[in-house]
Symmetry: C2
């Protein structure tokens, strides 16, 4: 199958590598408005050629949008304007707004909204790796509004990436994404800011980062281009979960301030229940 990937960063590049390697893609056309990214993708070799968008759409059977959520709002309607029988899918971390946006597009049925729950804290074509998607989940949203054949092609594509397919409506997806993914990133960005503010005075604090700090702050390396529109588009859910999170932190602070070790212990033990859920 000839595939066009729009957006040649971590997500698009990692998909390209494995879709080619595993025989799903016979030929991969790359599109990226950033010429440095585009040329890097060609040199690294995960796309076979670069094209302008219109030509790349015309030549493909499947088009994958692997661009930030704000760019997707602009690009998706344009892609849908141009397609004939082609199938279009995306990889955005927010779904509700995008689905509303194209709801009445005459080619809506050719589009399958998807969110592969995978990633690293790195970005750009040089961050693309084989195996990124392996054994992770992909959420396909509102598939009843898509053509059966389009859903089948998209599903086969994600299964080639060794992903587990979960079906959900767009609104539910955005709630889950806020709790599982978006809050983790804000938590990490804020942690980095907290430590960096202190570091103005005490430089060698960073000599001391042990495993725990590294892993909680790792996500703070993530791209602002990707995450800013996600928080904006998923505003209501993100604000709700952020409020719950701040309240939990205040509970800790209160019990620490009031010298209540038994209450601190209870909070920690309650949080330890996460072990049963994430036992791996």
């Amino acid at each position: 199958m000839v595939i066009t990937i729009i957006g040649l960063g971590l997500m698009g590049g990692s998909a390209a590598i494995d879709l080619k390697k595993r025989g799903f893609a016979s030929h991969i056309i790359g599109v990226d408005t950033d010429s440095i990214n585009a040329n890097a993708a060609l040199h690294i070799g995960f796309v076979d050629e670069l094209m302008e968008m219109d030509e790349a759409i015309a030549k493909a059977e499947l088009i994958i949008l692997a661009i930030p959520a704000d760019a997707a709002m602009k690009v998706l309607p344009k892609v849908l304007d141009k397609i004939g029988k082609q199938v279009v899918t995306d990889m955005c971390s927010t779904k509700g707004t995008l689905l509303e946006w194209v709801k009445y597009h005459p080619n809506r049925k050719q589009f399958v909204a998807a969110h592969p729950m995978a990633g690293t804290e790195f970005s750009g074509p040089w961050a693309a790796i084989s195996g990124l998607y392996d054994s992770k989940a992909v959420i396909m949203c509102d598939t009843e509004d898509s053509d059966i054949r389009a859903v089948a092609v998209t599903k086969r594509m994600f299964e080639t990436l060794n992903m587990r397919v979960i079906y959900m409506n767009g609104a539910n997806h955005d709630v889950h994404a806020a709790y599982i993914s978006h809050i983790s990133h804000i938590s990490s960005f804020a942690l980095a800011l907290t430590v960096l503010e202190k570091e103005k005075n005490e430089k060698h604090i960073f000599d001391l980062a042990s495993g725990g700090f590294d892993s909680t702050v790792r996500l703070a390396k993530s791209s602002a281009d990707m995450w800013t529109p996600i928080f904006s588009q998923n505003k209501d859910n993100v604000v709700t979960v952020l409020t719950t999170y701040i309240n939990k932190l205040k509970e800790f602070r209160k019990h620490i301030e009031n010298d209540e070790p038994e209450k601190i212990r209870q909070l920690i033990q309650e949080s330890n229940r996460i072990k049963k859920v994430l036992f791996r």
Copy 2:
């Protein structure tokens, strides 16, 4: 050298494995008030024999306390009461309170306060692993109050564990530990609580945990026995850093609520500076 390790969990066990393997310890005596832990340590094989504390102190040249911070407050003075020429060190994550506590003990000079900045989210003797301490930092505190020979022995021990030694006073240590280690743990405990509260209603949220969520919530598996006394003993610093952290989260919330993507982007980009510090 004959070494007695008091507390046969993750920290004590991991030290035992590598001190023996690398020839620093000729014989390791284990002490643990929890008989399940003690017998597991003997069966796993990282201690050569188990003893009651008084006898274990008498037979050792170096005594390592690898117990929670509240237990250390009780046990350290008792150990110092019993020793002759033996050197005593500890591994607690808070230093100020403990150092105040034994400041005027007649054998204070035999004690070297240390905090190896290493660990995992697991606990107990079955969590002990070789290499836990490799290439991490150990902070030795107020060493001017310790005997030169005691400092030298302790330093050689930590260097055998491939640790980088940093010297600091106890009060400074506690500030750094709050920013680098303690806040990461509270951040993670609170994140787990936030998600678990939601999960009451929506069970399959956990199907969706991707790499980002796993790494930020990993520390929430950490032991309440270890962490409760740390937060209590380092109360003032932890409350300060927690307040800064909550304020950073509120900044995110404000800009998301007010539809200010440029300000969200600025916060993320500022937090991205952590890349330069933790480029690895």
